[in-house]
Symmetry: C2
Subunit: 83 residues, 2 copies
């Protein structure tokens, strides 16, 4: 079993109104040090292991998780550690 | 200037209906290898550097970014690299 960590971020050129709202709130809360905020998604998948796991994760991100018109994604595949 | 990467995840004990919906979609799309999906947030902050930056990020996460009743957060503080 593998744990796949997927990070989905808006492309640089895409405006992030949610991030701007958070930044404005932080300024109002007296954190003027924050100069920019960008909000993305972090998705953890538990997947069965297999030789083609990277291709599967690519396909899953392209087809469902990310909107590749406006978003980039990257991922890490880790061995699942059961505590 | 520092780049702070904040990862916000639901606590283990909290149900994730959005993740379950994504998993069901993936099964319908013929990816039965996916056994679990958990959806969180990934937030990038650009902050001015300072000795107390870690305390500030903790406070920002506690007060605004994360709902600590149901969510955990972790973060990494990196030197900003301007390309």
């Amino acid at each position: 079993m593998k744990k796949v960590k997927v990070y989905i971020t808006l492309k640089e050129s895409v405006l992030d109104p949610q991030g701007q709202a958070v930044m404005q709130s932080l300024h109002n809360m007296n954190y003027p040090d924050v100069q920019d905020v960008r909000i993305g998604k972090y998705i953890e998948l538990q997947m069965e292991d297999g030789a083609d796991i990277a291709q599967k994760v690519d396909a899953i991100c392209d087809r469902l998780l990310a909107n590749t018109v406006i978003e980039n994604y990257r991922y890490e595949i880790e061995e699942e550690v059961r505590s």
